[in-house]
Subunit: 137 residues, 2 copies
DNA sequence: CTTCTGTTATAGCATAGATATAACAGAAGA
DNA sequence: TCTTCTGTTATATCTATGCTATAACAGAAG
């Protein structure tokens, strides 16, 4: 998987790396069990310092996206615990976006479509747990 | 309108102030034509430096939320220009949120409801252009 | 003429981001 | 056992950002 870092971005390098990996998981380019390059190897590939990568990995572990151990390095392992915590997090992050949309007269329908399209983009290649829909009789 | 600043937050003070004002507009607590306290007065009220407030005001002007001039201070004036630019901005901001939601198995329906509820919260007190709903016969 | 406004300039201080170098403990393989 | 890899921790240095402080300027209002 290709990870691109923009050194001219105002976003911190370790945040960019973390985001790229989360996007990779969402797009199913990184799956449970996949190994990420070691902190030193990834740092060498990206041309950044080891500690910058370590910071990103530590953040990913903290948020339940990878598990780290000394033998296997960083392994993708998305935790489904603390879902309510994540919903809260998403809620607060979403608040400013929706507030801006309301101010700028962007309709709810436009926002809904934006979310739906983006959802499709991510989940189109992902294995769905609930493809089978039970119909009420 | 009450503006609260958290000095212990890791979010920059001028960003907090900017966000609070955008939220105020979204909640219709600040309306077109309303004047904001001058940079010095606002700084005094919040207990922050004048330049911190000036930074927030300059940012709000840049994003089309207020107009600044020497006689009237900062006046709420939401610009509807550059809508495509704002949609792009919202799109990129939303991408990481939706990516996280997909990773954490938060369904599209849950996200849609989140957006809808939040939209209602903001727009409930706002003047609606399309309150009248035509019913099909 | 005084007082308010936004605006700009300069300086100092603290924190965060990124780098560099180094070392440690644990696990794997020769 | 020895080497090599892993994540982890500890310092130190440099730069950029955030915040404050003090000061000054131009324009508008009373």
């Amino acid at each position: 998987m290709l990870i691109e870092i923009d050194f001219n971005s105002n976003e911190a390098l370790y945040i960019q790396l973390r985001n790229q990996i989360i996007l990779g998981i969402a797009k199913d380019m990184l799956r449970d069990g996949d190994s990420l390059p070691s902190v030193r190897q990834m740092a060498n590939e990206l041309g950044v310092n080891m500690h910058t990568v370590n910071k990103a990995y530590a953040l990913l572990r903290q948020d339940g996206y990878v598990k780290l151990d000394r033998r296997n390095g960083a392994v993708i392992s998305v935790s489904m615990e603390n879902k309510s915590h994540h919903v809260e997090n998403i809620h607060s992050n979403m608040e400013m976006i929706v507030a801006q949309a309301v101010c700028k007269n962007i309709t709810l329908e436009e926002m809904q479509k934006l979310v739906e399209d983006m959802y499709d983009t991510f989940s189109s290649a992902r294995p769905q747990i609930d493809i089978i829909v039970e119909e009420k009789e």
